[in-house]
Symmetry: C2
Subunit: 486 residues, 2 copies
């Protein structure tokens, strides 16, 4: 039996009692229970599923303070941020409950019978949705609540009528267990089968879960390496299943000369805030910033970054990878380490800053476009706004791209940038920042690979639910002829 330890990000030491990893037999049991629970869950009236989601939300809100405390012990993300993330998570649970109550998203569509011969004439067709079945969810380490055990993937799958088996994140095993137990108790108390939501532990259990013949979809937020490995398992099964992986992203920012001239100081301060939010451990972090070569801007950015306190990353392993990653990019020819990155003895790290020229970026983009998950940004110094095209053409798929421009002078440029960046990213922000992703009905969080393994789908916002249902047409049935059939 393998054991899973909780490692303190503050000391690097083991904390709490170790917990046993799940065996393949445990996974089989969980999936079998999931199938059984799914029979009733998938057929529940929408308002009942909504009631279940609200019961979970209430239970999480009730324990917000202690959950934030526990999460902080395992992730070092800070109590305030974690309390905020819990609010976002329960907001999200209730958003899906509202969607279910409105019946908008899973609504039935009908082609009424049309007399005449084909291709014009046809029988009555009623198009409705069925839940896919058990879903394997792999939450993220950097959002233990909003993208974690009870995060967007879990909630959207449950809302869709699917049952969920979560593979606990190894970075916060105690919190994962606590959240699962809390949600299951809330479900039971509200009169639902707790087995609609289960969890397993350990990497072997995770791969067994995605490979399990009865699991019908996977959802993942995390590293490109782990996500791709699971995607490969999902797509090479005898019966391949959809796998919604969000694998990381180098998010570009473009600041025009006019924007810099009109509000350079604010931009440097705001960029420093966005860059260091969540200690830079956000998939929406502005990673590569194209900006006119302007010393005042760099000076402002250095000053703003220097004002941000050092802090611990999610784990000692995250810290090690981050420091190595930054060192790798810093060692690329033509890169200046404006603020060097080094881990402190207390495992904290201060924000860093790298710069390079547009010419150097064009020459070495492959080495430079390396995601460093922490508080660092790469500023690419451009001669003029005309340089943006050369930079843009080298970018990979991204979750979000950002433009800072001035309507009066940049209208053509901004239109061009929005159009081009729409081909690269799933979201384009104008005169704002990419971090602080809103949870709304029409939000889109995804983008061309590697931002997402499933380019058409969003993992945030109401439409996330549609990943876990498929349409079925019932042909030639009317309510008059078959009362109660549909």
């Amino acid at each position: 039996m393998r054991l899973l330890n909780s490692i303190s990000p503050f000391t690097g030491e083991v904390q709490f009692e170790p917990v046993a990893e799940s065996s393949v037999a445990d996974v089989d049991t969980a999936v079998a229970r999931s199938l059984t629970a799914g029979k009733a869950w998938s057929r529940l009236e929408f308002k009942e599923r909504a009631r279940a989601l609200r019961a979970i939300a209430d239970a999480v809100d009730d324990d917000s303070a202690s959950l934030a405390e526990l999460a902080h012990q395992e992730t070092a993300l800070g109590i305030d941020r974690l309390v905020g993330e819990i609010a976002r998570t329960t907001f999200q649970l209730r958003l899906f409950a509202e969607e279910l109550e409105s019946g908008r998203l899973l609504a039935t569509d009908i082609d009424e019978a049309l007399a005449g011969l084909p291709p014009v004439g046809h029988p009555r067709l009623v198009r409705r949705y069925v839940a896919l079945g058990p879903v394997a969810v792999f939450g993220a380490g950097n959002f233990p609540f909003a993208f974690g055990q009870l995060g967007g993937d879990t909630v959207s799958a449950l809302a869709a009528g699917c049952t969920v088996v979560v593979k606990d994140h190894p970075g916060h095993p105690q919190l994962a267990m606590t959240l699962s137990a809390l949600a299951r108790t809330a479900l039971t108390s509200a009169g639902f089968d707790a087995d609609v939501l289960q969890n397993v532990r350990g990497m072997g259990a995770g791969t067994a879960l995605v490979a399990h013949p009865s699991v019908q979809a996977g959802a993942f937020t995390g590293s490109q390496k782990a996500g791709r490995a699971l995607f490969d398992i999902a797509t090479s099964r005898p019966n391949p299943i959809p796998f919604y992986g969000e694998l990381g992203s180098m998010n570009p920012v473009f600041i025009t000369q006019a924007a810099l001239a009109s509000r350079g100081e604010e931009l440097s301060t705001e960029l420093a805030t966005s860059l260091t939010m969540g200690r830079g451990q956000l998939c929406t972090k502005p990673s590569v910033i194209f900006v006119p070569d302007d010393q005042a801007f760099i000076d402002g950015l250095v000053q703003a970054l220097s004002g941000v306190s050092p802090g611990q990353l999610l784990s000692p392993t995250s810290l090690e990878r981050y420091v190595q990653g930054v060192a790798g990019v810093a060692s690329v020819s033509g890169v200046t380490e404006v603020i060097p990155t080094a881990a402190k003895p207390d495992l904290s790290v201060a924000p860093g800053l790298l710069t390079t020229t547009l010419e150097n970026f064009v020459e070495r983009s492959q080495e430079l476009l390396e995601e460093c998950f922490g508080p660092v940004g790469l500023v690419v110094l451009c001669g003029s706004d005309a340089d943006f095209d050369a930079g843009m053409s080298l970018l990979e798929g991204a979750l979000v791209a950002t433009i800072h421009a001035v309507p009066e002078t940049d209208s053509d440029l901004a239109r061009h940038l929005v159009e081009e960046l729409s081909n690269i990213a799933g979201r384009v922000v104008v005169n704002g920042w990419p971090t602080g992703l809103a949870v709304t009905p029409w939000q889109h969080h995804g983008g061309p690979y590697p931002a997402s393994t499933s380019v058409l789908h969003t993992s945030v916002g109401s439409q996330a639910m549609m990943r876990f249902v498929r349409p079925v047409v019932i042909q030639n049935v009317s309510d008059e002829q078959w009362p109660g059939l549909l």
Copy 2:
């Protein structure tokens, strides 16, 4: 240089001049042209793309008689059927034109800015769609028009703003070339860039196309073996792409005792018609028919099938595979070959019929669920309607399932069957037949693997267009502040 021959399904001899297969360099050229043409095509006003689709439809309609004649020479599908299929194809082209004109499917959705702090407050989010990019289309041999060069996949991709490179079907190379040339001429005449639609030939070109880094999606209708091989290429690329494959299907039919009692004679006649439509070479063919053990029904079916003239299949190879496939199923223990299947010297084949008992089906379903692409059905004789559950539980994913029942007596049973079959199939037909798929706004043609490699998507009906676009959210842009940006 490899050559591609057109083989007559009537003689097995080479007909027409052979045509050269495309090299990998040809594929590169086609994709490069596709990218260039896509710049303007993806940005065209919807009504302009609609005009292009109508121009193609008109050109096809104008040449309907000669196209049907040519198609018959290469597929033996019969002039009447082919003229009907052409009408369906141009109906489909115009349906997508109408969808574009209405602007319904690619409509923009907006979350207006909401004051307040997150998670409740948020900036303005405008969600719209962008075309994926060049699409590789692999048409079907059995529908040279409706699922071919200018079939549903091609048209829905073009409507979505994507450019298309079709891999010509080897079963009808002359028709494929003729249709491509016809459509390209129509595009040019109407003032569009013909390169939005190109074609390549040969298996090597097909795999190179799916592997090409600039190709953004694949769409396929055909055999499980070929489709899965291409799916595997698409999903194992460095940047995986969506691959919409329709790989075949064993479509079940369930006839209740009450239905048999009330209209047994009509059912046997109608089943014979559905089973032999297009000489049984339809992906929607009723393949495995669960019916109460009733000699009169079998006698009626035998009589109706015996009245259907023999005919050639799509190719000598199709015929050979079909005869072997039927022989394989017929040789399974417990199977009765009620009407034996044998190829005649003129390469034609008459409808065949196999039966077995429910008990035997339960024991040997894996050997029995073998798709035979031609005019044969497997009738599973049941003791009672209660046997249906045992049969259903052994079925694989299917495109369509069919129920024949009587509203007055079977309401509970029908509801149960519709619900259970919705978990297996993409479409459930009640008191109708699965063949003769309607092209409508809400049609769904797909289903769990192997019916489709992409379980959420349809390849027929207006929603097919949504396979080739992805959403992008533009954040923080209002028309007042940025006139003309969106």
